[in-house]
Symmetry: D3
Amino acid sequence: MIIEQYFEDYEIGAKRKTFGRTITEADIVVHAGHSGDFFPHHMDAEWCTDQEFGQRVAHGTMIFTIGVGLTATVINPVAFSLGYDRLRFVKPVFIGDTIHTEVEIIKAFPDEKRENFGRVIEGTTVVNQEGATVLYCEHIYLVQMKAADSS
Amino acid sequence: MIIEQYFEDYEIGAKRKTFGRTITEADIVVHAGHSGDFFPHHMDAEWCTDQEFGQRVAHGTMIFTIGVGLTATVINPVAFSLGYDRLRFVKPVFIGDTIHTEVEIIKAFPDEKRENFGRVIEGTTVVNQEGATVLYCEHIYLVQMKAADSS
Amino acid sequence: MIIEQYFEDYEIGAKRKTFGRTITEADIVVHAGHSGDFFPHHMDAEWCTDQEFGQRVAHGTMIFTIGVGLTATVINPVAFSLGYDRLRFVKPVFIGDTIHTEVEIIKAFPDEKRENFGRVIEGTTVVNQEGATVLYCEHIYLVQMKAADSS
Amino acid sequence: MIIEQYFEDYEIGAKRKTFGRTITEADIVVHAGHSGDFFPHHMDAEWCTDQEFGQRVAHGTMIFTIGVGLTATVINPVAFSLGYDRLRFVKPVFIGDTIHTEVEIIKAFPDEKRENFGRVIEGTTVVNQEGATVLYCEHIYLVQMKAADSS
Amino acid sequence: MIIEQYFEDYEIGAKRKTFGRTITEADIVVHAGHSGDFFPHHMDAEWCTDQEFGQRVAHGTMIFTIGVGLTATVINPVAFSLGYDRLRFVKPVFIGDTIHTEVEIIKAFPDEKRENFGRVIEGTTVVNQEGATVLYCEHIYLVQMKAADSS
Amino acid sequence: MIIEQYFEDYEIGAKRKTFGRTITEADIVVHAGHSGDFFPHHMDAEWCTDQEFGQRVAHGTMIFTIGVGLTATVINPVAFSLGYDRLRFVKPVFIGDTIHTEVEIIKAFPDEKRENFGRVIEGTTVVNQEGATVLYCEHIYLVQMKAADSS
């Protein structure tokens, strides 16, 4: 779905919540193979036995990838992703946990360098089945202003 | 390989450089299937024809995942990844581009909340075959101090 | 996204069109590995050289899977997929072709066996980058009537 | 294996039965990633808890793909797959179920439009470990007549 | 297909030839992710430019896996794979090459340790599109003798 | 990591041990899809019930691929893999087993055909979580002599 949403259309405090997704052993196998990170924290159930969590832990980059991927449902042709701030791995995610993502517009302000563009900051919280935050980050969008088109 | 490296062992300005990896169409297919992000920017060569870059672009979460994955060669059992700051998608990565990652210790300071732990910040730069930065981020590690063990 | 749509809400002739997706060599590799069908029509570029199409052809089950998958964007909790009629492989799909799917409600009638349920038939046409139909099928949904809830 | 089988060689009632295959959580992860269908019916174990089946269900397109894939062991160079009729999802398939496919030639008649060709209909039944049918469809082949070659 | 073939049934010099399979860039991506071997010889097209072959080379373990996999079409319930001798990587395989496998029974002799069992040696040659051998190995089977059943 | 190690630098008896990796159901699904070997020994949990091991067994080619892959951590630019001798599947590997690889230099001798090159034989033992050998093979390297460079 494509929905055009200009800088002026974003409302601080607007929220949305994604579908959930159960993190499987297969996802860990896929992510190790994709990232090349085969550290025993993710791959070796025996070794994990006497580590802090007692079991394999999902890669942080996977929870970020899937957590953000869950939000990718609507294309806004006048917005561009610049990156992320304050990405934190708050709690481990284990095989069998189910995560979903909650997004909230937390800031919006004119871009300093680019006239007719603003920045919109989306607080992005990945939450597990017990309601605990497992990952937090702030997605930074560069969004066109309406002014830009009418000028 | 496991190398124990305490907070005191990190040296500001220390650098390392990873192997390279060519980003393939198959990686984009894998990442779309893993993340659930099938946006036409990544998946629809026809649609891309009259977009800004004229071709399919790698997912930002993939360049982050692979760029960071390339650095995962040594385990430091007294360091823990807390997250990332200032993650920026600087330039698009296209099918056939070859990326590698350059890492530099840029900051190290005692952790405010946890006694006997410090934070080490690794500037992480993903670079393409032309030497241009495509992604930058700052990896935040919590690292045990030697003091912690001897006390 | 979840949108409740009862039998009475469907309108004959209503249409929607999905995003596109370029069919890659990687998709053929994935589909062979998933289906177990490694026939040379899909896997052996040399053998294909003197066959009818002169090149590898995508599996029919893959074009069906991806073509239908492209339409999976909205969940209707009062509708259930019963199956498909008249599935036809109209034209071959080659590596590099870009397909999208066009869906049209073509029939809606009360279900013979289940009171308070109707059948809705979605004509599903998978189309390539030249506008040619490559696959056609009729998706059969069993949909609750409003009457069912108010009774 | 390649076995030439002309229209006249098909015998109504001829049957064959494939090997079995256990449907795994990994297959669901692969199929979601391949089809782009990440609906919670397949991906979210928590959400499924209070749905009709109480657990994740395999995608219909996957059972079709694998069920048909299991039959792909012999190439008949004088037969062409036109498509399928009456594809029905009869029962859900769960993680850990084992399916196999039973095929029976149920109809064979001259093709109306193409001289020297006939249609052969293969009743295709996918069966689970309890002997219950989970999917049924009728595979339609266009098969050359011997007459065609000798003329 | 299941075909019972006892030790006495094997004939020295008997040959079979498999279907072919084109080795794709996607296969290299899959194999790197499966094996964990991301060496630049396979993954870094730039680095390969000034190496001996000037391009990425398929993993030896992949050509072995696929070459042997191509032969897995018939199950012999009275034979067991013990391993392989003389596995040699004769020539590199590049992206786009098409390989098939040729198998010949080269030796058969009674097993020294297990009465009523013999060893059958299958010379296994993986061949590319130019007819050149790329991999050779000798597959060692332990096969039941007829005597074993009748005794 | 790249470490130049000439023929003269190898020491008989030198050993190294890799990280471990838990073999998952997902790995079997990936390997079947990659190799094309869908034999019921690996894929059909029901069929396995009354076979010798009572459960699905990992493919031999997978344990070889992963076992050898675990050793791929250091590139020696003056060594080339020629192949393997005495590859034996000593014990079955089941879903959930954790394997690691132990490597020992067991032989080193001048190459008969290539002046200034020697052969180094690495005894490669794949071991499960109970310390039992599951696979053994001898990796044959062709390694440059120091003499070669100084001449």
